[in-house]
Symmetry: C2
Subunit: 113 residues, 2 copies
DNA sequence: GTACAACATTCGTATATTCGAATGTACTCG
DNA sequence: CGAGTACATTCGAATATACGAATGTTGTAC
């Protein structure tokens, strides 16, 4: 079973996305490239911490950086990341709907289960 | 900024996928529903640990369970999970390609950068 | 009822992540 | 050169995750 390597890489990429701050960064970067300062203003993430997350995202190839003078512009490396992001959103919303449905049924137990 | 809740839920779903064992489970379940025993054989994950992961996946609505006698059948709750899974695979492979490209260029530095 | 199989949960520990504080580096301007 | 801005890295402590071992639960058969 050499799928092991496959699943490892797979989960590694998921881990990179598995953090609210990093999701926030991606959600902000989806509109186009942006400097760290701009990201800091939009996301309200403290500078050091923001840099840490950007470093991780960079290391995993999720975003890419471009230096221009004293500024560094970040952008999403692969547009498919955005597709994945949106799919996750859909799954999330549908899951919430479903849970809501279950809750409603529990509150109004007309028919027996 | 109430996107906070959005990004939280978003990353929570990603966290659910951010583990090799759970990826393995999903990769195995994508062919159809399966009992815990079958999953254990295919994935070689110890029973208790497998149950723990399944419990987490169930709690987050990623898989659903159906009991039949003494067996419990698990299946992927939302087909979009599989789409997301495959997108992640694509991103991963393209990222590997790109890294390989960079490595090749580093080994054969003909033209200046 | 007992015995057994299939699966789930709890608990404790090892390991990984996250984040702030401090410090470091790269670049520009004068 | 020094000073200031933009960004990155390191370190340590708090928190979260993963997993094995033991124990529980649920269902079937007898």
């Amino acid at each position: 079973m050499d799928d092991m390597r496959f699943y490892c890489l797979h989960s590694e990429l998921c881990k990179t996305l598995a953090n609210e701050k990093r999701q926030m960064i991606l959600g902000t970067l989806r509109d186009g490239e942006m400097t760290v300062s701009q990201l800091r203003e939009k996301t309200r993430i403290p500078q050091a911490n923001l840099s840490q997350h950007l470093s991780l995202l960079r290391g995993r190839g999720v975003v890419s950086a471009r230096r221009d003078g004293t500024h560094v512009f970040y952008s999403i490396a692969n547009p498919k990341i955005i597709q994945a992001f949106d799919l996750i959103t859909e799954v999330m919303l549908e899951s919430l709907e479903q849970q809501k449905g279950l809750a409603d049924r529990a509150l109004a137990p007309d028919a027996a289960e």
